[in-house]
Structures are given as structure tokens and as C-alpha cells.
């Protein structure tokens, strides 16, 4: 884990606390964070996401383990963008969806607890 990012994306380094390794952790961080903070992260990522997707789309899945730490961090940051997109894009009142089963009662099994 590093807070550094590939140099084209270094401006996003203040947000690397979101670069968590698995679905469970990214989801829990989202619902534990207030909407304003989530929106700040979303707004910082949004204009860079197409470039990030193009960057990551050149890297084979099987090469993930061999990537430098800053590439892994960028990948996890992009995954976190997808996680936080739902409350913003769907105009929820909070970072969690209304009238949904509490995810605190979810058991996240592999691969959701791994990546």
C-alpha cells in the first residue's frame, strides 16, 4: 500500500485513503462517510476517470501482482469511485440507500472480502 499514484494521476493522491483492497472495505467506508465528503472524492475522480480507465485497460488482470504499488493504488481508487458513484448519481439523501437491508448484517465472502 502506498499513497503514491502514477505521475499522470498524482493530483489524486489526497484521496488515496479510499484505495482499499476489497469490496467489503470500500463499501463500509462509503456508508461510514458523510455525503459531502463522498461527493468531494467523486468530484475529484470524475474528470479523470476516462483517463484512468484507459490506463488500466492496458494492464492484463494476470499481471496485477507484478504491478508497482502506485498502479495497484490507482486500481483500487478506481474501484472505490464505482462504489461511491451510486449515492451521487442516484441522488440519495445519504451515502446509504433508503429502505435497504443493512449491509452490517452482510457476511462478505471471497472474492468480495479479497478484491
Amino acid at each position: 500500500m502506498t499513497n503514491a499514484l502514477p505521475k499522470d494521476f498524482a493530483a489524486l493522491e489526497p484521496f488515496t485513503e479510499w484505495a482499499l483492497p476489497c469490496e467489503r472495505d470500500r463499501h463500509r467506508k462509503r456508508i461510514a462517510t458523510d455525503l459531502h465528503t463522498v461527493r468531494t472524492f467523486y468530484d475529484a475522480m470524475f474528470p479523470r476517470m476516462n483517463a484512468i480507465m484507459d490506463f488500466l485497460d492496458k494492464i492484463p488482470v494476470d499481471d496485477f501482482d507484478r504491478q508497482p504499488a502506485e498502479v495497484k493504488t490507482l486500481h483500487h481508487l478506481a474501484l472505490a469511485f464505482m462504489e461511491v458513484s451510486h449515492p451521487i448519481d442516484m441522488n440519495w439523501r445519504t451515502t446509504d440507500v433508503d429502505d435497504a437491508f443493512p449491509s452490517s448484517r452482510f457476511e462478505f465472502l471471497p472474492p468480495s472480502s479479497v478484491r
Binding site: F64, L79, F81, V97, S103, F108, L109
Partner: protein
């Protein structure tokens, strides 16, 4: 344009009931009948062969309805077998949990060791046992068969049908479909609700108009089918299948636009044209605005089948009013990290949709078990539920 949907509707309709005496289905005594006459006599999917790709590959699968745990192993001959996960010596659970690959299966209590085919191979200090016949003390098998990578078991002493007979016309219709996908998500929850209510929540599309308004408000129906009637509904001998209609005017959210720059479109988007060929069982009516299929494999398994993705939902009763539900998402095998991010959109939005589906179940159980109401009323769009209770009632009526 006001084209009227002409659905494909197949199956025996005359003996359906649109009022279900739900109260009787929720009692402990009724559940005991279901255990013996439905669960014991059904072929039950329990897992995937992908979890045991090589000889010695194993997975521990709990089957709470029979208070047991299965040890499913691929033998050195390649065959997948299921056993009660119990040592023949003094009954210790041989493998506590999880999956993996081992050349032999040793009980941690006294070291009795079994082969991947379930034969007792090694007994520690064997000569201290009198009259021990190792050939008779292999692991206790459960009838097992594999279909399209799904491992099915049958707890009947003498199964009444083969798995092929049990699946009926579905058996030959999914060739190769599941092989192209891999598991990307798995969630498990324990709910205080009857297992039938759980299955019922996923086998009608009527609720999508309302329940999913915050997560996928416009993915189905659209201008020509605003009430989202199913384009095809099939009541099979035991099982059930319908297709969900895509909204051709679905508006992608900003993150969705970004996500599907890479890889293939997935829910809530539809693959409008092209894509990998699908077997005959997927989108069986070949509806042009198809989104996905819902298949109930009676009694307790539901699949949602899309283009490039599918979802398995397992409902295991822990009792008459408690159910463990596991949901596994599968997707095409991502080739790049960009495709992984693309799939992240699908799996995280899909999880939130699933959380909405789950959220009615305990409230329904609480109120239905109050006894205030005897029957539930079902629409034509909930005909799959009518069929579920008809199939169940027929099995319960067997001697």
C-alpha cells in the same frame, strides 16, 4: 408507439390458485413436512465444480436443512463426489470449512485418513481395533450429479428421478453458458423469514416498479411496456422461468457511462444487439428487448441470467422462520484491470439492488406470522409464485 406486448406463456394454467393460504406455509409443522417431502426428494444444487478444478480439490458445503455438512471432493478419477463431512471413527467433522486441494483427507482427532474418492486408507495403530473392515468404513456418500458446473445432491435413499429427469427440458438448454463466467461477488445473510418468502421475492418482476426506484429506476420496461410485463413466462414441470424486458431508453448514469467504456455492458444496461451467442435456454422467446431471465430451480435456488453475467441465489432454511441466503455474482472473465473496474460498477450497484430485495422479507414474516391475514393475493405477473406453491403442494401430497 403503443405496441401491446404479446407474451410467450407456456404451462398448465388451469390448476393455478391466485390466492395462497400463506399462513399454513409458515408453521413449524409445515416446515417439517417440507423437509421430508420436498427437500429430501429434490435434487438440490449445493455448489460449483469451479471450486474444485483438480483431483483432490474439495469444498465444504453446509446443508442446514438436514443439519449436516458435506465434503465435496474431486477424485483422482476426475469424478465429483459428496460425502457427509464426518469421520467414521468417532464422528469428528473432517474438514471444518472452506475449499482447497489435498492429496488425502485426514481427521484431526486420531489421524484416520481417506482418499479423495472417500475410501478409508489409513487407520492409526490399526491393530488395536478388532474386526475393523476398512472397506466398509469409507466416507458416507450422498447421491451427487453435476449439471453445467453445478453440483447437485439428493438426500433420498433412492432418488425418484435422475438429475436430468428432475431438470426436465432445462437440462439441455444451457450448454456452455456458465463456463464463460467467473464468480466476482459473494454475500451471505441470515434472515428471520421463511425460505418460501425469500424465493418468492426474486421470481416476479412486479416489485421492480416500486422497490428498486432508488437503485435501478429505469432499467426495465420503458415507453412501450411501462408496467414491465414479462415477455415470456414458462411454468415447467417443477421449475419456472421468465424473461425481464429491457428499457431501450434506459439512461446511463455518469459512472455507468464510464464503466462500460471497457468490457461488456452489464445490468442495468442491456446488450441490445450482438454479443456472444447464447444457448437456447437463455432468452428463450428471443425477445428483442431482452434484459435477463429469472429461473427458479425448485425448490430453493434462483438464477438471474444475463448477457455476460449471471447471479445465483441460494435459500437454505435454518428453520420455519429463518433462512440463510447466499448471493453469488458471476461475470465474463475480465482480461484487463479496466474491465475489473467496469465490473465493479455492476457488482456494487447490483449489491444495492439485492439489499432492497432483502429488505421486505423480515417485515413480511413478522406481519404474516401475526395471523392477521390468511391469504396473499397474486397477480398474473406473479404467476411464478402461484406455480411454486402448486409444485410444493403436489410434492407434499405425495405419500
Amino acid at each position: 408507439m403503443s405496441a401491446v406486448l404479446k407474451p410467450m406463456l407456456r404451462g398448465e394454467l388451469t390448476t393455478l390458485r391466485n390466492q395462497i393460504p400463506i399462513k399454513q406455509w409458515l408453521s413449524p409443522a409445515h416446515f417439517e413436512l417440507e423437509r421430508e417431502k420436498i427437500f429430501r426428494r429434490s435434487w438440490l444444487p449445493v455448489g460449483h465444480t469451479a471450486d474444485l478444478p483438480r483431483p483432490g480439490g474439495y469444498v465444504v458445503l453446509d446443508v442446514p436443512v438436514f443439519n449436516t455438512s458435506l465434503l465435496v471432493i474431486r477424485g483422482n478419477d476426475g469424478q465429483v463426489r459428496s460425502f457427509h463431512n464426518i469421520c467414521r471413527h468417532r464422528g469428528n467433522k473432517i474438514v471444518r470449512e472452506g475449499s482447497g486441494c489435498k492429496p488425502a483427507f485426514m481427521c484431526g482427532f486420531h489421524g484416520w485418513t481417506y482418499t479423495p474418492e472417500g475410501k478409508l486408507d489409513v487407520v492409526t495403530d490399526e491393530h488395536q481395533f478388532r474386526d475393523l473392515d476398512k472397506a466398509k468404513l469409507g466416507l458416507i456418500p450422498i447421491t451427487t450429479a453435476v449439471w453445467e458446473g453445478f453440483i447437485f445432491v439428493n438426500f433420498d435413499d433412492r432418488p425418484r428421478q435422475t438429475l436430468a429427469e428432475w431438470l426436465g427440458e432445462l437440462h439441455g438448454q444451457y450448454s456452455g453458458y456458465f463456463d464463460t463466467q467467473e464468480r466476482i461477488t459473494s454475500h451471505r445473510v441470515v434472515l428471520n423469514c421463511n425460505w418460501n418468502l425469500g424465493v418468492n421475492s426474486f421470481t416476479e418482476g412486479y416489485h421492480t416498479l416500486f422497490l428498486h426506484r432508488n437503485t435501478v429506476p429505469d432499467y426495465q420496461g420503458g415507453k412501450t411496456n411501462p408496467l414491465r410485463h414479462r415477455p415470456s413466462i414458462e411454468l415447467l414441470e417443477r421449475h419456472y422461468r421468465h424473461s425481464a424486458p429491457a428499457n431501450p431508453d434506459h439512461k446511463a448514469s455518469p459512472a455507468e457511462e464510464i464503466a462500460f467504456r471497457c468490457g461488456h455492458k452489464m445490468l442495468p444496461a442491456s446488450v441490445a444487439a450482438g454479443g456472444i451467442p447464447l444457448p437456447e435456454g437463455v432468452n428463450p422467446s428471443k425477445y428483442d428487448k431482452w434484459l435477463f431471465d429469472v429461473v427458479e430451480l425448485f425448490p430453493n435456488f434462483v438464477m438471474l441470467l444475463g448477457h455476460y453475467w449471471h447471479i445465483d441465489i441460494w435459500f437454505w432454511p435454518l428453520g420455519h422462520d429463518k433462512t440463510v441466503i447466499t448471493q453469488d455474482f458471476y461475470a465474463y472473465k475480465a482480461k484487463t484491470l479496466g474491465e475489473r473496474v467496469s465490473q465493479e460498477f455492476f457488482r456494487t450497484r447490483g449489491r444495492e439492488v439485492f439489499r432492497e430485495d432483502l429488505n421486505t422479507l423480515e417485515a413480511q414474516q413478522e406481519m404474516l406470522s401475526s395471523g392477521a391475514m390468511d391469504e396473499v393475493f397474486l397477480s398474473q405477473q406473479e404467476i411464478g409464485l402461484q406455480h411454486h406453491y402448486r409444485v410444493a403442494a403436489n410434492m407434499l401430497a405425495q405419500p
